[in-house]
């Protein structure tokens, strides 16, 4: 479950660690993918099931998880498909994964009841029985021993649930559907979870909310390790939420060294890209609000951006900035300095995997992975982060850029840059973290309640530190991010000399790449 370590968390991380180990240890010329049969026995040993009705099913689920972690689609279960025959197509130093990023493993889904009300044995068959009085369709009556709900009549309004003085009415919901702010979760013909691709914005919150671990995302660990092992110049662009993720003894400077020990050529803070983005979005705001558009929405969270465009189609949707995100700005900067670079974004985020598949992002970002996945690489390579030397790399990001990882920090960072550009201007801000709240904010904006505002939206409650790819409890992570941000020599993006004089994000394509769509990157 999100923010709590459970057996599902363990299984997921075991899978990443096995795939990483395979990536590092396999024979590059003669790879034996049969490894994954054996590895499924390492993760699920013995003959007795631990989690489900059968050990065979447990292993079968792990094997589909291996496929996703290799970047592949899961297999259909109604006819034979080999586990490993198509795996060699993944043996590449270039991006292989495709949409959809977030996948249900159908046979792992327990087809949880959708939105039902049931009477529990808390019912005392009380004299008042307000439940019957409030039910608008007379679906609840008093039976021999307790109240009874007629499922056929019930319209799931929840009034009895609220009225019962003994809390005797239970509400069942699907954890996956309740976590999904985009309302993208429906059912297949067997009643199992099915994701509506048109609605899904790849936030990944269903992955960490399903109590049966039936949903998982694709990973690029294997291609990343292959690129490192074949001698490519692979750079790590590490998202601001990284601080504290690898444990309290893993200081930021030690994490940098540990990433280099994994084979990354250099490590760049995405907080630096956040500074570039803040400056850019400040300029967009000053130039366009209110003359050309009523408000400006931030761009850094890809789920929020995609969701906002779905909620507000047409012109209003264009008020959400789609200028280059901190991830893209960082990739651009790395490729300006080293045109041969391969850039891996490492963050807390599943949605960034979707952003990484966009045609105009691909030239700058080669791969996207989560903190959990990179932790699997550390474990596979037996790297003890706390034993590392502190890397002496100087700071590249301001306090504000490093703080992007915590909800309601992005808009103030941009506002600080707006004040630089237009000193007298008073910037009004609204923010929301969770798609449900984002939706409310967007509808108010559409109704004209936020004219002249800067709107910050994030899909994950708490911001990036609460992302599905994290390892630390959210509150702890927030404190660590804050502490590290305060060690930056610069308060605001504008004071950061590293980003001064850098080209505007998105305007200059890296040498040798195709020109990108100017509409996206200048936000016009």
């Amino acid at each position: 479950m999100r923010g709590i370590f459970t057996p599902i968390t363990k299984l997921r991380r075991d899978v990443f660690t096995e795939v990483a180990r395979f990536g590092y240890e396999r024979d590059l010329q003669h790879t034996d993918y049969g490894y994954f049969y054996e590895a499924s026995y390492r993760i699920i040993p013995g003959e007795r099931p631990t989690y489900r009705e059968s050990v065979f099913k447990e292993r079968a689920i792990i094997r589909e998880r291996f496929r996703l972690a290799m970047g592949m689609k899961i297999r259909d279960q109604d006819h034979y498909e080999s586990l490993t025959a198509d795996m060699q197509t993944m043996d590449s130093t270039a991006k292989q994964s495709e949409m959809p990023i977030v996948n249900v493993i159908p046979f792992a889904c327990e087809a949880c009841p959708t939105n039902t009300y049931r009477v529990s044995n808390n019912c005392r068959k009380c004299l008042a029985h307000p439940c019957t009085a409030v039910c608008p369709v007379k679906a609840i009556s008093i039976g021999d021993k307790a109240a009874v709900i007629d499922e056929a009549k019930c319209i799931r309004c929840g009034r009895c649930f609220e009225a019962c003085p003994y809390h005797a009415i239970l509400h069942f919901g699907r954890p996956c559907a309740e976590a999904c702010g985009a309302n993208a979760i429906g059912s297949d013909e067997l009643g199992r979870c099915k994701i509506d691709r048109d609605k899904c914005v790849s936030c990944g919150l269903c992955i960490v909310s399903c109590p049966f671990g039936a949903i998982a995302d694709k990973s690029e660990i294997f291609q990343i390790i292959t690129a490192i092992r074949t001698g490519e110049d692979v750079y790590a662009a590490i998202a601001p939420a990284f601080v504290g993720q690898f444990g309290p003894l893993a200081t930021p400077a030690k994490v940098f060294s540990a990433l280099k020990a994994l084979g990354f050529k250099d490590v760049i803070e995405v907080g630096m890209g956040a500074d570039l983005s803040s400056r850019h979005e400040a300029r967009l705001f000053v130039e366009n609000v209110p003359a050309r558009q009523p408000f400006l929405g931030t761009s850094c969270c890809p789920s929020w951006e995609a969701f906002a465009r779905k909620v507000l189609p047409g012109d209003t949707g264009r008020c959400i900035s789609s200028s280059s995100t901190p991830m893209v700005a960082t990739g651009q900067r790395i490729k300006q300095d080293d045109p041969k670079a391969k850039v891996v974004f490492i963050g807390p985020c599943v949605a960034k995997k979707m952003e990484g598949l966009e045609e105009d992002v691909k030239p700058y970002i080669d791969f996207v992975m989560t903190f959990e996945e990179v932790m699997g690489m550390f474990a596979a390579k037996h790297i003890e982060i706390s034993d590392m030397q502190e890397d002496d790399k100087p700071a590249e990001a301001s306090h504000d850029g490093r703080h992007y990882a915590v909800a309601s920090s992005v808009a103030p960072a941009i506002a600080a840059c707006i004040k630089e550009l237009e000193p007298g201007r008073d910037v009004q801000i609204a923010h929301a973290d969770s798609l449900a709240d984002c939706k409310k904010m967007l509808l108010l904006a559409k109704a004209g309640k936020y004219n002249g505002y800067l709107l910050e939206g994030m899909a994950c409650p708490g911001g990036c530190v609460g992302g599905p790819g994290t390892l630390m409890p959210i509150a702890k992570a927030g404190v660590a991010v804050d502490k590290f941000a305060k060690t930056s020599p610069w308060e605001h993006a504008d004071q950061n000399p590293v980003v001064q004089g850098r080209p505007i994000p998105g305007v200059t394509p890296p040498p040798g790449s195709a020109t990108t769509d100017p509409a996206r990157h200048t936000g016009e």
Partner: protein
């Protein structure tokens, strides 16, 4: 009420196996109070580096040491039980 010292391994294997989630749960105990409003626990939590019990493919992680006694493959409930036992 006796003081309990809990040393939690913050090495790579133990962290990936959820040792910091155990810390978060122990820290929750610090804000439990009895009826008179006195704290119910006196616990000192320390993060310690890799204890070298993880080398066998992580099978012994996470490692938690409660008043000098080592618990391997620790879970939050095991550790909290031990703390409750030692407290009184």
């Amino acid at each position: 009420m006796k003081k309990v010292i809990v040393e939690v391994c913050a090495g790579t294997r133990c962290t990936i196996s959820g040792s910091m989630d155990i810390v978060a749960n122990i820290e929750n105990l610090l804000s439990t109070y009895d009826e008179e409003g006195k704290p119910m626990y006196d616990i000192e939590v320390r993060n310690v580096p890799c204890q070298h019990d993880c080398e066998k493919d992580g099978s012994l992680a996470p490692v938690v040491i409660v008043n000098g006694e080592k618990i391997v493959c620790a879970s939050s409930d095991q550790v909290m039980n031990r703390i409750s036992e030692l407290r009184d």
